[in-house]
């Protein structure tokens, strides 16, 4: 591990990738693939689909690293948004291909929500902005944190979340509203 700030290291790699240096792409992959694969898996919930998403995302990074600097984002956030957007594409395509798929996945999801686990999130490599969010999310009840996270990561409405998590619509709305109020108060301190 180098002593340099991880962001600087990743930004240097992105600069080299913009110059079509394929060894830099390999280094970036080694540094970030597990993090980004975890994200893809959380959105699409299927290993094969998540691997396709990761592949697409890295090809996108290979082609568009030149526009990274203009985004003014921390490097992990920029890559995270690419993965999320590819994953949402895959999710939309899949739900139009196979409307019945949701049924298989309900069980997995129900389990995720039942366990009142401590904050399972991983902030080891997170940027400062993500670290603040991590801290504030950690103060929520786990079910509130879970629905708020899923709403964002999977771009789902109250109705879709209620259906998928087999919860009453009113419950989902309440959890999200309370979660949001607490988060806003907490994040305001980091502004």
């Amino acid at each position: 591990m180098s002593t340099r700030h991880p962001d600087t290291e990743l930004m240097d790699l992105l600069d080299r990738i913009a110059a079509q240096d394929d060894s830099a792409l390999k280094s970036l992959y080694d540094r970030t693939a597990s993090q980004l694969f975890g994200l893809a898996l959380r959105v699409v919930r299927n290993r094969d689909a998540a691997e396709d998403v990761l592949q697409e995302a890295f090809l996108t990074i290979w082609r568009s690293a030149g526009s990274y600097r203009a985004s003014l984002s921390p490097p992990m956030a920029w890559m995270g948004l690419i993965v999320r957007s590819r994953a949402l594409d895959a999710l939309r395509k899949r739900s139009s291909d196979r409307a019945d798929l949701m049924n298989e996945l309900d069980d997995d999801m129900a389990q995720t929500l039942e366990g009142d686990s401590p904050n399972p999130m991983d902030a080891a490599d997170a940027s400062e902005q993500a670290f603040a969010l991590h801290h504030c999310l950690g103060k929520l009840e786990s079910k509130q944190r879970e629905v708020v996270s899923l709403a964002y990561l999977r771009d789902q409405s109250h109705g879709e979340l209620a259906e998928q998590l087999k919860l009453p619509l009113g419950t989902v709305k309440t959890w999200i509203r309370r979660g949001l109020e607490q988060l806003r108060a907490c994040m305001a301190r980091y502004a």
């Binding site: 394929d22 693939a33 709403a151 964002y152």
Partner: protein
């Protein structure tokens, strides 16, 4: 009510908007306000940035090693394609007016090239007939010129015609040891889907299939290969794989579409 005068309400709406849970009419009204007021736009941006942190906080999971192989194959295929385009652009021998999307995509170029090839074959046959016919019009100088021409052309040492299960030829493969090149020409009408790749395998007498590379979508394809890769390989096969192919160690995972004997040329 002017939302910009109510910072708490603005913050709440911006947070729901960026989270994605503000939907329908409320979402459209917020978007209209954001277009009109920079303060509203700024609040939305702040929350979009905050929520994007969620993408960094998910538990890490190691992907299968095959994913990197596929990415690497596709990046290499892209680089090779770019290099070939650059080479073709540098020597526009028979370039017609540039077509939209670049002249190399123009079918006409390929037809002209194919026609030129056919004419060359015809000429060779004519020369052969003349020689065999005992007309002996070919002078020593002409033979020397022909030999020189042969020296300059790629040296094709191995040939394979890969066919599908109905024995219809689908891929012509030649190996040129001088340039360490496998050249593949699609001759059937087969075209894989955009999410699939064809992968070429050597089928050695002992051990499992060895990957020789992943094919791009072009009609004419080039793969880098040393003579050791093809020597004493009795047959080649092409399988249908996920886009980018699979690692060589895995062996083919999809159906074998085409296969054929690899023949060492004696003449």
């Amino acid at each position: 009510m002017n939302i910009t005068q109510h910072p708490d309400l603005l913050d709440r709406l911006a947070a729901s908007y960026a989270l994605g849970t503000l939907r329908g009419g409320a979402r459209r009204r917020f978007e209209t306000l954001a277009r009109e007021h920079a303060t509203v736009r700024a609040a939305a941006l702040v929350w979009q940035t905050r929520w994007s942190g969620l993408t960094e906080l998910q538990p890490q999971v190691a992907p299968s090693p095959a994913v990197w192989t596929r990415i690497d194959n596709l990046v290499r295929a892209g680089q090779l394609e770019q290099a070939m385009r650059a080479a073709r652009q540098a020597t526009p021998a028979h370039a017609p007016a540039p077509a939209p999307g670049g002249w190399w995509r123009n079918l006409l170029v390929w037809r002209v090239a194919a026609a030129a090839g056919a004419i060359a074959t015809l000429a060779a046959v004519v020369v052969g007939v003349q020689v065999n016919g005992g007309l002996r019009v070919t002078t020593g100088a002409q033979i020397a010129a022909l030999q020189q021409q042969l020296q300059a052309t790629p040296q094709i040492q191995y040939v394979a015609v890969l066919a599908d299960d109905k024995a219809a030829a689908s891929m012509l493969v030649t190996f040129d040891p001088k340039n360490n090149q496998l050249v593949l020409q699609r001759v059937g009408g087969f075209q894989e889907g955009a999410d699939k790749s064809l992968q070429l395998w050597a089928l050695p007498p002992a051990g499992g299939p060895r990957s020789l590379g992943v094919l791009g979508q072009d009609k004419l394809l080039t793969l880098v290969a040393g003579e050791a890769d093809v020597r004493q390989v009795p047959a080649l096969a092409i399988s249908l794989e996920p886009k980018g192919g699979v690692p060589s160690e895995t062996g083919p995972t999809g159906p074998v579409l085409f296969k054929g004997e690899l023949i060492q040329r004696m003449l």
